[in-house]
Amino acid sequence: MNDNKPYQQGRREFLIGAGALASASLLPSIALAQSAKLRLGLMLPYTGTYAQLGAAIENGLKLSLEQSGGKFGGREVEFFKVDDESEPSKATDNANRLITRDKVDVLVGSVHSGVAMGMLKVAKETGTLMLIPNAGADAATGALCTPNVFRTSFSNWQPVHPLGKVMFDKGHRKAVFITWKYAAGEESLASFKEGFTAAGGTVVKELFVPFPNVEFQALLTEIAAIKPDAVACFFAGGGAVKFVKDYAAAGLKDKIPLYGSGFLTEGVLAAQGEAADGLLTTLHYADSLDNSRNKAFRAAYGKVYKTEPDVYSVQGFDTGLLLAQALEKVKGDIGNQKAVIAAMEGAVIDSPRGQWKMSKAHNPIQDIYLRRVEKGDNKVIGVAWKALEDPARGCKLG
């Protein structure tokens, strides 16, 4: 027995040693996987008419990161940022650079629909997980929907569709629609037409301005000459400021009521000033939404950024909430894409805009609010459509 002891000890030591060695060789790789930062590629506009929107989205996203303790699913986050300049022709290159050079785990972007479509193409080809925090291009969660792409904002169809019924109920029968000539504008027009015609109204003229041109005077004169019952429009960011001011300056404000998708007044009310008073818009968010989540969000956002949040901040924030929830579920293992996608599909987001969940096409199913501008605020005056789901025409998911 005594003779055996050293041997046994030796064997035990050997086993422990071998085990230690084995786990030592394994450990660093496990530790590495868990400590490696989550690489987030942000493709947003930081210049141009949408600059403010890009900043608001980033602020919202970073606030949610801060609120989940600086980590998503236990992993710290490293940001890789690109200014996409709202320039669709640069979208593919920018997205490719983030994926191949910066090796991002998740691609987040963008505001401009054309840019987002370029990114979507790259995400589809490379299988990279992509989150759209604003761009509403219908096809992204419609005909071109794909398992690895999720939208946390809206489809262009969504906020404008209820507007037609709202306007008809206010007694307007003949309307003019005016917008920028690009995907988001044209899709908003198509959606409005669908809603307004279904309610019984007629769109008597469609007016277009090349994006991002902001010289509207000629078209406003045209509107005054046509004398429709009402005008509906799609503009956002810097262009929205100018359109609303020009509309008032042309003396149309008190003669022909102006409606719009809520982007018309989001984040730009201060710049629009009195010209925006009384505007009616439909959107999936409003500053004055009466829920505790929204109040907490607005207080926290104001404290950190010293400005009022808007729908873009909320969409950025929700993008963070979705990431936090999904990564929590897979314990930070972003590499397990199947599980991440399943987690995102099942996510219920407790958002400042009210609770929402993903549709089968990966687009939010959400309430659309009717809002009126009052003293520099977008006041909720009702729900224009409860739990509106995008028709997702052509999408084969789910």
């Binding site: 930081y46 210049t47 141009g48 008419t49 600059a51 403010q52 900043a55 300049e85 000539k181 469609e206 007016l207 277009f208 301005v209 090349p210 991002p212 041109n213 902001v214 010289e215 005077q217 000629a218 078209l219 004169t221 045209e222 005054a224 000459a225 004398k227 960011g237 810097g238 400021v241 100018k242 001011k245 020009d246 300056a249 042309a250 003396g251 149309l252 003669k255 022909i256 730009v268 201060a270 710049a271 629009q272 000033g273």
Partner: protein, 298 residues
Amino acid sequence: MDFATFLIQLLNAVQYGLLLFLIAGGLTLIFGIMGIINLAHGSFYMVGAYLAWSLSMHFGSLWLAIPAGIVLSVILGLLLEWLLIRRLYRLGHLQQVLLTYGLILIVEELRSIVWGDEVHGVPMPELLSASIPLTDTLSYPVYRLWISAVCVVFSLLLYFLIQRTRLGMMIRAGATNREMVQSLGIDIDLLYRFVFALGVALAALAGMIAAPVSSVFPGMGNQVLIVCFVVVVIGGIGSVKGALVGALLIGLVDTFGKVVELKIGDFRLLPELAGMSVYLLMAVVLLWRPAGLFGKRS
């Protein structure tokens, strides 16, 4: 389109054209006299608009902001010429394009640091905020008439300065033969510095008077720059008269291109045509007169 509508659209076209001229005039002046292709010209338009915003916030009125803004933009022009532009006179166009393109990026970045990335509105002076009613729905904003008036006044001042003053004579002579003017004992460098500052001030002035109706936002200069280059090319590079005619033509084509509906059978040419009407005009003019309407063949 009835007569009243047509008349207002004409006013719209002329107002837009005159504003473009104020910007493009400086662009072509700097090229015609100094031989400098200045891609950063649109950035000065943006700087003007931002100056109008922060100065009118500071003074509480646009009336004080405009003269103060002109003074500041002249200083900016003199400084930039002394720092950068004067090094370009003896270099080729490629270097000029590179340097002034770099300047666009620098100005945009500085704008972001100094003024931030937000969109701002500039309050319109009380005196000019009314509209003149023409029919029951059609009216024309007084402020736009004022924009046109300011553009006309400054264009006339520019004309007298260049054509009727001793300084203008020296500038014109300097454009034709730099060495000769220099040997006559005239400080040509000072003259050039003055011309550059004048161009910067005109672009900034355009930005300032446009600010209340155009809002103030990042990247606004680059939109204007492209149209101004089209204006200069149509008018003939270096010709101030050409820039005026080119700007008015662009105003007309852009305005009526947006609202006049053209139909060939069932096919609507609008709105597809509206976006490119300006470039179509340029193509047509260049086919007819390759050097532009008032350009000299070299």
